[in-house]
Symmetry: C2
Subunit: 159 residues, 2 copies
DNA sequence: CTACAATCGACAACGTGGTTGACGAAATGG
DNA sequence: CCATTTCGTCAACCACGTTGTCGATTGTAG
């Protein structure tokens, strides 16, 4: 028979390690390029805001968290100068969240850095295998590229 | 030219999605088998305690968190009945953390469930490709299978 | 037009998990 | 014998999530 199979627990560990490596490098590079203070959550949230703007409720839906949590995230993003709240002229209840130029800068840099990091992996694994890896992950871990629900998987309460 | 490359940001997302899928399924199954209340962090910590027992400081080192955080985790594990604190007869400062039978039960079930989940992936991808995936991840995300430093990557403060 | 329901955003209270700082007790070493 | 280090714990704080509530506004009957 062939070599022994890996123990099952290694898989999630490697997945997490890989994720962490990527995200940590992203944030380090982002800090170097004038965006310190940014956290993984912020990046995801900023991405989720999108170019057209959103509301807290909608953002919460996209991120898979409560509207209150989304509101707090928006607060943080606003404090960092990445988004701005504007009153919606058509609906006085709504407040539209829009990305600022600085937020956009962060976003484009993130995209570039992620591409560079991916290139780094491609150099190690080869483009073919990297694509295979991505394809395989898509098959076992499907889902919209942006319905991440990223925060909460660790601290998710049971109550 | 070949098909377009995936955008770089998809990789971390898929990695996280895969991790989440595995861990969520683990916890769901664990709950079904008489271990509700267990959280991802607990599993990692329990694993990190090891069969020989540890101290809070040592556990903190292994998990990559402060001794205080490790202490809190031990508190939680103790409340759940998974570990026990004993005074070290050789050193009155130390308190040795040891896994209880129930903790051991949780651990062996976790191992089995993780193996089953891996088998599930193997059925989808084929053993060969799954191994390739694991090999590739090992290359781009090396590190001890247990130096996870799992908690903290999301909430890691910059200050 | 008015009354009722739904929606949005915010506030409060809380839980969890991390951090630092400080401190007493015990071990270690000059 | 005293100074330093180590261990465990307490307290305060921050980040991020949750639920519950509530006022303001909008939409929808009646």
């Amino acid at each position: 028979m062939a070599s022994t199979e890996s123990p099952g627990f290694e898989l999630p560990l490697r997945l997490l390690l890989g994720f962490r490596a990527l995200v940590d490098q992203l944030n380090a590079q982002l800090a170097r390029e004038g965006h310190p203070g940014v956290r993984p959550v912020h990046g995801f949230a900023l991405q989720a805001v999108g170019p057209t703007g959103t509301t807290a409720v909608e953002l919460g839906r996209r991120l898979g968290v409560s509207k209150q949590a989304a509101g707090k995230t928006i607060d943080a993003l606003q404090r960092l100068g990445y988004v701005q709240r504007r009153d919606d002229p058509a609906d006085a209840r709504r407040k539209v969240v829009a990305i600022t130029p600085r937020g956009r800068d962060c976003l484009v840099r993130s995209a570039r850095i992620f591409d560079e990091l991916r290139r780094g992996w491609a150099e190690v694994l080869g483009e073919t295998r990297l694509r295979a890896l991505e394809d395989d992950l898509r098959r076992v871990a499907p889902g919209e590229p942006l319905g991440v629900d990223a925060p909460g998987w660790l601290g998710a309460a049971d109550g």
